[in-house]
Symmetry: C2
Subunit: 150 residues, 2 copies
DNA sequence: TGTTGATCTAGACCCGACTCTAGGTTCTAC
DNA sequence: GTAGAACCTAGAGTCGGGTCTAGATCAACA
């Protein structure tokens, strides 16, 4: 019925080591139960939380903040405002990241286009003038992209 | 005419320490020039590159990859295909990040809404039944959000 | 029965990306 | 001519987030 740490590792994408590390760091809502032999057993709820937890992490929430959140959860009802505040802050943070990445993406696309054009021209040069391609390319670079040599 | 390291730090948002560190790590296209007294001087081109560099970093390109890229630039014309490949890979990586963040954002918004509703109901409870608000809240939590206690 | 493989704990180690320190030089202003 | 700010180098330290190791236990199979 319960899941072993190995199964949870496979299904969550986290390593066995990371799961034990997360537990030490207090990132589980409920203390992880053990079999009589001391081995950890997890359930589907743990997996669901780990999925969320992984999303929070990969979207830039530090473990220490995840711990704050889970501590509020552990305290039980009554602190929903604080939890909400925490979630809203992260929501905003994620929105900011998306905007910044979109900005970066625009820059990347521009640079990719510049290089594509440059290469197209470079190869055209080679076709028209196959005897000294290096010189032709150097000329192209100098004349056409002084501010975009990087 | 040239910019001191302090000015560049201010204008780039990087620390003076980080600028020296970046130089050691080989992240500048051109070797940083020095005054006769050994002090670094930068120019506007350096600032432009640092702006790009900062975007690459904050969008998840490791310094070691930025170095690879700048080494290609330093080698001069002839390796545009490699540079393009590198840029395209990062473009893809940024696109992936955006998609993942949008996914996370949807989850965050859902959770925020659930908490907002929960709190609205909790406060409604208090209004209808101000004599035992904690019990009312606990009941609400148990009955309405068993799978969303986190 | 003995080996293989999964698990356990405690604690050391690693990596990326800075950040800071110590000890020294140089510039600027008073 | 001296204080204070800005700079220099080499190298140590920090921090987040894991990862790995050693040495032990336990289950299951041949």
């Amino acid at each position: 019925m319960g899941l072993s740490i190995g199964e949870v590792a496979q299904r969550s994408g986290l390593s066995v080591h990371a799961l034990r590390f997360y537990e030490r760091e207090g990132l589980f809502a409920n203390p992880v139960r053990r079999l009589s032999n001391g081995r950890r057993i997890y359930d589907e709820e743990d997996l669901e939380w780990l999925a969320i937890c992984t999303k929070l992490r990969s979207s830039g929430m530090p473990l220490v903040v995840i711990r704050q959140y889970i501590e509020l959860v552990r305290q039980g009802p009554g602190n929903e405002h604080e939890r909400l505040e925490l979630l809203r802050q992260h929501e905003t943070h994620v929105e900011t990241q998306i905007r910044e990445l979109q900005d970066t993406l625009a820059v990347m696309r521009l640079k990719v286009r510049i290089y594509e054009d440059h290469i197209a021209r470079g190869e055209a040069d080679r076709l028209w003038n196959p005897s000294h391609p290096a010189a032709a390319q150097a000329g192209t670079q100098q004349e056409c992209h002084p501010p975009e040599s990087t």
